[in-house]
Amino acid sequence: MITIQNLTKHYGKITALNSVNFIFNDSKVIAIMGENGAGKSTLLKICAGILPFDKGEVTIDGFSIINNSIQARKHLGYLPEMPEIYERLTGREFLFYIASLRNVTDAEKKIVQLADMTGITDFLEYEIGSYSKGMKQKISVISAIIHAPKNLLFDEPVYGLDPLTSRTIQDFMRKRKGTTIIATHSTQLVEHVADHVFLLMKGQVVASDSVTTFMDRFGSIENAYFHYKDEVHA
């Protein structure tokens, strides 16, 4: 469970998040949508503990991301929007590196399993510097889920992935237990995997409801998105 209270973040004069409040419950896939610069990635970075914020409080399973950061991060898996990984390590070395730092038991078996699932097995012995964007994304996805965290933060999780791996990752998100938060622009992805949607615009939550409610009311997530976008900009 992730709770966010009165979270505010400024980049110079620009307000990225303006006193936002969220409670992300267990066993749900929650989608955060919004236009470019709405604050989606900023929100996820703050929750992952890699970006400081100005005001408010963030807790992961009851642990504050500021005061109890290490405990909080134990319960998290994070995939950034454009993952940059150590280019000089091979895929296998990087995954063992993360597994060692996360204290994962039975790492070899898990890496083999997840590499098979994402279709990256044949490239594990190559340096990451030679990987395509999709292959880097696959390695980053594995590194985010290798320790089976209760809470997952995925920023554009299927971006750059081939259709088969994209479907596999979507299935994985649907079936897993725990909280999964995805920041995305893809309305299709939201309709396929999410239980709940938050619409974030200009650093504030303008609408939030279950996907089924949005679908019943507007016919599609895309329609809902444009409805609220027009409302905000009106």
């Binding site: 290490i70 950034p80 940059e84 280019e87 070395e93 590196y97 340096e127």
Partner: protein, 453 residues
């Protein structure tokens, strides 16, 4: 037209300005340090001229040549071989060779810029001290030497990472000829040859880029295993140092510096000092050469990798930050990798001892260990302060200057203790213990700096 050239220069300029804006006082200090050292060199020149010391122009020329050779090699490696952004430029309809030539232009522009601004400031100071600076031919020869050094530095950076290593041969042959000829004129007249070699190297540069960026590593599979946290962080650092071939260059520098230092310690006084001054400087010079040798090795094998522990984490810091690790653990894991770098600095002692014998070996070991730890103490917090903001010459130069002053005083005190007190070794041991405590504080400070960002 020159899109890549403009883009890289803009990136470098903005990065520097951003660092200056974020820490203006620190950068004011760095700049004044740089200014001060150039002026100091001018005063040193004045002193040497007044004492009629026989400083060889050839040695100064080759010293400058070597510095620019190393710097341009490093710059070309950073902006070409090691650049994560070039794939964008290479994917456009612009010829890849043209893009690589533009990268060379950046390196050329930066290094000649450094040469002309530093030498200009130096000459201006000499002029203000009343020294005649009208030596246009000499200045032209020195400038041509710098240009050739940049040409060959870029060429060696290209072929060192090529799958066809024999392509290094032309550069090595040229360098060999320079070494054996010991002539500035000979070096300068090879400018067309160096240019031709550079053009050929640039047209074959893509092979090296592709070779470095697509490597299968089946042999290293046995080393992939679960480790404890600090050894895991340390192992990654060492892997990168090994694969970027930095450990080899550390050992190479250590050996060559050891040989030069040893040679100068024995023959330097006869070669450089006139008979009339030997009485005053004769005893002082060998110790100074040994100190300088150890100092150079420490800058290259301790300060440079210490700064890069964090400076190089440009966009990958998110990996460590989102893991359940304390900043202290991260700092300790990274700093542990420097123990291997320390091992690469040891040959300097062995090769110096070949010339000067083993009489002072304990003191030399102490000086190396003390200098090495001092290098880490100064460099790691600065690296943590500028995490992800790639090294710039101001930073490296300032750390080098701070250390020069600290190690100069410490080395002198150590030598005085050794020669005057029976219990000197106990005192030197105590100094090391205190220094280790300061190192501990420095690592704490680095962890704190990381946490406030």
């Amino acid at each position: 037209m020159l899109e890549t050239f403009t883009a890289i220069l803009t990136d470098i300029r903005r990065s520097l300005f951003q660092k200056i804006r974020s820490s203006p006082i620190l950068y004011l200090f760095f700049s004044s340090m740089m200014f001060f050292s150039v002026v100091m060199f001018a005063f040193l020149t004045l002193f040497l001229m007044r004492t009629e010391a026989d400083i060889s122009l050839l040695d100064v020329f080759f010293g400058i040549f070597f510095i620019f050779f190393m710097k341009s090699t490093h710059d070309f490696h950073t902006h070409f071989i090691n650049s994560p952004y070039l794939s964008y430029a290479f994917s456009t309809q612009v010829s890849q060779t043209k893009t690589i030539r533009e990268i060379f232009l950046v390196v050329f522009f930066i290094n000649t810029g450094i040469w002309f601004s530093f030498s200009g400031l130096y000459l201006l100071t000499l002029y203000s001290l009343g020294i005649n600076i009208y030596y246009p031919i000499e200045y032209l020869v020195f400038s041509t030497g710098v240009i050739i050094a940049i040409f060959l530095g870029c060429s060696i950076a290209i072929h060192f990472f090529s799958s066809l290593r024999y392509r290094l041969l032309p550069t090595v042959i040229l360098l060999g000829f320079y070494w054996f000829s010991q002539s500035m004129v000979f070096l300068v007249i090879t400018l067309p040859l160096a240019l031709l070699h550079l053009v050929w190297s640039l047209s074959h540069a893509m092979d090296s880029y592709l070779f470095v960026n697509r490597k299968e590593r089946i042999k290293d599979k046995s080393q992939v295993k679960i480790r404890d946290i600090i050894p895991t962080i340390c192992y990654r650092e060492i892997t990168v140092l090994w694969r970027d071939k930095l450990l080899f260059s550390f050992i190479f520098t250590s050996i060559t510096t050891g040989l030069f230092t040893g040679y100068l310690a024995i023959y330097g006084t006869d070669l450089l000092i006139p008979e009339s001054l030997k009485e005053y400087a004769g005893e002082f010079l060998p110790d100074m050469f040994v100190f300088l040798g150890i100092y150079i090795v420490v800058i290259y094998t301790a300060v440079f990798p210490s700064l890069n522990l964090f400076l190089n984490e440009e966009k990958t810091m998110w990996i460590l930050r989102n893991l359940p690790l304390s900043n202290e653990t991260i700092v300790r894991g990274k700093v542990l990798s420097l123990t291997l770098c320390f091992v690469t600095s040891l040959p300097v002692l062995a090769y110096v001892s070949l010339f000067v014998g083993l009489d002072n070996i304990v003191f030399l070991i102490w000086l190396l260990v003390f200098s090495y730890i001092a290098g880490i103490i100064v460099a790691v917090p600065l690296g943590a302060k500028y995490v992800g903001k790639k090294s710039d010459i101001l930073l490296l130069y300032s750390v080098a200057m701070i250390l020069f002053a600290v190690l100069g005083v410490a080395g002198n005190l150590g030598l005085t203790l050794i020669t005057t007190r029976v219990d000197a070794f106990f005192l030197l041991g105590a100094v090391l213990i205190v220094e280790v405590f300061v190192l501990f504080l420095s690592l704490k400070l680095s962890a704190h700096i990381l946490s406030i960002r």
